[in-house]
Every structure is written in structure tokens, then in C-alpha cells.
Symmetry: C2
Amino acid sequence: MPTEFQFLENLRQKYSLTRIGDDCAVLPKDSKTDLVITTDLLVEDIDFRLEWSKPEFIGHKSLAVSLSDVAAMGAKPVWSMVSIGVPESIWKTDFVDKFYEGYMRLAKKFNVELIGGDVSKTPDKIVIDSIAAGEVKKGKAVLRSGARVGDLIYVTNQLGGAAAGLSILENGVRYDDSVKIWQKNLLLKQLQPLPKIHTAFELANKNLLTAMIDLSDGLSSDLAHICNASKVGAKIYADKIPFHGNLKAIAQTFDEKLNYALNGGEDFELLFTVNPKKKFPHKKAYEKRGFTHIGEITANEGMIKLITNKKSQILEPKGFQHF
Amino acid sequence: MPTEFQFLENLRQKYSLTRIGDDCAVLPKDSKTDLVITTDLLVEDIDFRLEWSKPEFIGHKSLAVSLSDVAAMGAKPVWSMVSIGVPESIWKTDFVDKFYEGYMRLAKKFNVELIGGDVSKTPDKIVIDSIAAGEVKKGKAVLRSGARVGDLIYVTNQLGGAAAGLSILENGVRYDDSVKIWQKNLLLKQLQPLPKIHTAFELANKNLLTAMIDLSDGLSSDLAHICNASKVGAKIYADKIPFHGNLKAIAQTFDEKLNYALNGGEDFELLFTVNPKKKFPHKKAYEKRGFTHIGEITANEGMIKLITNKKSQILEPKGFQHF
């Protein structure tokens, strides 16, 4: 069986679908602007669980995952649509109202206009399809395919928090008044992630970036997506990867923390590459704002190396995939 | 509990969502063009059944329902996206390949570019979200809200075929080599509907139309949508409604045929209104092409009357709704 990534690549080739394969499709809008657009399907018991979350969080996250894709193109989100299918039993509750409350609160925060959608019935599980679109200066969308040998690799903020949040949910912790601060931090990183819209837009507008992706599948997988699209390799330094501050509460060893940060996914931080000849201005100021240089792009096509204690090992993409 | 239409109307008011409530949302594209966009969620065992259809038909219909919404705005379809979630057991079959074959065949027919989508896993049922966009001259999208008192009401082709197709599926008939011609006609109308894209685009470009909707929920419901949006009423003549030619094979009485045509849904024909003062050119030629004048718009806001044998009765919207 093909993986979902192989499947999409086959589809792209079979039908010559040239706009597929990035965080968003890029379409011409007018003489100065391109439209970027993405869609994300979220399914109950695969992508979220009712007993682990709240309807408002599910609404929030449905929009957040798509806005994060728009951000990863360096675009400004403009409008969105959402289709939701629920079973009769859920329709009778306040789930859908609360879902839209969470959705609309995030939409308002980023001035995103909800322009359409669909409501449908399902036999038993909730399904949500989230569509978001943004605008970017013509030809300036930041693609996955622009990374070049020697480029510096950066991530925003800290990694592994969302995966650690998932882990404590799996271990029975629930988001309620009784949780400790560190648990709340990890749970909110998993249940109510904030897309890095302003950061991405600002970075893209400084023309510094050669490639960008949002960290949804996990660093190891998402860096592989950039390397595959750019036909390059990469090396990253384990001791430079910024771990979420609360990882230490559940991960005893460095390797455990590293695993959350590399393979956990859903942090919705940004992974981007910068041409070192273009001066990254105010290096210190940028680092203060939470950008961390974690490695470099190499000529070793398709190969990602993880440097630990001066030893080098091959990093396989182990992030999330459905199939 | 609110119906789905009430729910959407509440949502529209609560969050001031001004672009919601037509077949498509209308957005400015450039100085000469508007973009229209729609999304439709299709769920296994609610909107389709695997044992009643074929993967190619499901792919075709997924795109067709959204293209029909684009057509109903008088727009030319341009691009589409599709999200599909399937259980592991279906992923292992050729379902998804065949689904895309049907989808892409229809896309090619109307020069629609598939620009993106998502693939996901579900616990057990297939879900599909279909997104389609089209272009229309700025300010010229044909809305549901433009019908005025005295306008003539028309439909394209014949009605009731898709509902009759559903009926024979429910009675155990399957699309295979053994079906009779009349059964095949009805089954294909249900399983592989053809959106009326060229007709809608041509009509809209002649500036004849005051309002238009595609017949997806059923004539009684879809006419109610036009009347509600336009704040008018309507009267239609039962004996003018064009029945699908094969209805007679399963419907014995006039009332049975009328029920299929009024309340069946999924014909994906067009329902439109025309200002009688604007000369409907070549009336005979248009009728030959399958446009039938079935009634008029009245001042009786929210009230639709069905005239049968010179008696008049109130026509309640009885078309399909999920909730």
C-alpha cells in the first residue's frame, strides 16, 4: 500500500496536478496579489476525541490548523469556510454552537471572515473540513521547494509541547480546574494551538526566507517535506533543538525529549530556511523573539542527519501520517 | 431543535456572516471578476451508499454537486479541491483510485483544475468534502435574492428522475448489465448527475435572470429558498411541471409523479426567474432546449401555492434536509 504522501505524489503525477504538494495551493488573484488556499479534514477519534477536548477547543483547532498552513506560505489569512457533519445525538446538544464560538473567536482574532460552509448528518462520528485562504504579494508565497545548499534552518519557539499534551491525555489527564500549570500548558498546546500568523507574515515580508512549512506532522517529517520538495538534504543538531519548557515534567531523558520534539507533531510552529548571504538582521533580537537556528541544508539529497554528541545518525521521518 | 436551515440563519445573524446563504459565497477577485466558492460535505450512508454506487460515480457526484452550485451563480467553474477520509479497509482497496478517476473525468469535461485537498483516515465511514470555485463578471453573480413580483419561474429539463432512481435503489435494483434502459436512466440521474454548467453560464450571460438556484434539495424546498431570500411568494402550476420521461415506469398516478418532481431533490437542474418585461428571446427555441415555464413570483411573502385543476393549495417545502 502507498503511504498517504506517496498516494498524493502519484495523484499529482498521474493527473499533472501542479498546484498540489505545498501547505497551500497558490492561485493568481489580481495583478498584485496571489491567493493561497488549503483544506484540512478532521475526524473524531482520529484527529480529536470528545472526551479529551471541549467543543470550543475543537472549533478553535479546526480553524487553527488551516490558518497555520496559510501562515506557512507567508500569507495573510483573509477568509475561511467550514463544513461540519455530526450525528443526530450531537446535533441535539450545544456542541455545534460551542464549536462555532471557539471557531469564531479565533477567526476574529486574525480578522478572518467566515464566508461559507456546509452542515450535514453523519451515522455516528463528527467530521470537520476546514478551508482557509490568504493573500500574499504576487510571486512571493514561500514554498517548500526553495531551500538551497548552505541555507540555515530555523524553528520558532519550542517543540514537543503538543505531543507531550497528547501523551498526558492518553494517560488520563483531562483539561479541568484540577490540572497543574505545567499540565495546562501542555494540554492547551495540544488542544488550542495558536498559528504563528504574524511571525510568518513578518518573516516573509522581509524577503529572508527561502522555504517554510508549519510543524504539523513533526519536525522529522516536515523537514523531510522541505528536503524532498527542494531536492536537498539537511543536518540538524540535537542539542540546539528548543524543547518545550514543560517537557521535563514528563520526559526523564534527553532522548525522550528529543523524540517528542522531532516526531511528535502538531506544534504548529514554523520551520524555515534562510540564505546565510542575506544578512539575518538583528540576529540577537530575532533569537530573543524565539527563533532558533537548528541546522543547515546540505547537498545530500533526501538525507537528513541528526548530529548528537558529535556523532551523526540518519534521521528517518517518524511524524504523524494517517496511512 | 432548529432545522439546519434555521441553524445556519441563526449563525449568519449571530456573527454577521453576510456572505452565507446562497449556493456560493461571492468574493471580489480583481477589477473585472468575482470569485464564487462553495463546499459540500458528503457522508457514507447519509449521502451515498457503497452498495448502491460505484467509486467512479461517487467521485463524479462529489464534484458534480459543487459544480452545480457554481453553475447556479451563473459562474464558470475554474478550480476545485477535495478532502477525503476513508477507513483503513477502504484505503487497501482501489476505491480511492477509482474515486479520483470519476472525479477527474468530470473535472476534465468542464476544464476544472484540481488544486488541492486532504487525505485522512476515519474510524469506519467514508467522508468527502468537495470545494469548487468559479468566476463571474463583477457584480453579475445570479443570487437567490433577486426574484421580484411578476417574474416568470422556469426549470431546466425534467424533474423527479434522481428521486425515482433513489427509489428503485431502495427497492433493490442495482446499476449493472441486467438493468433495463428506463432503470439505467433513472439510476444514472441519481448516481452520476450532470451539473448544468453551460446552460447556466449562457443564461446568466444574457442578463435575463433575476434569481437562480440549483435543484438539489427538491423543487418545493429550493423555490422556498428563492422566495425567502427574495422576500416574495410564488405560485406554480402542477400540470406545467416537466416530469422525467421514465417516471411513469414506477409512478402510477399523477400525484406520485408530482411528489417525485416537487420533493425528491438531487435533480441538479436549474430553477430560475426571469423578468417578463425583459424579452425572453426566441421563446420557442428556448422551450425546445428544455426550459419550462412553471409559474410566477407573487407578493405573498413566504407563501408558495400549487395550482392543480384550478384549485390552489399551499406547497410546504418537503425536500431533503439533514436535520
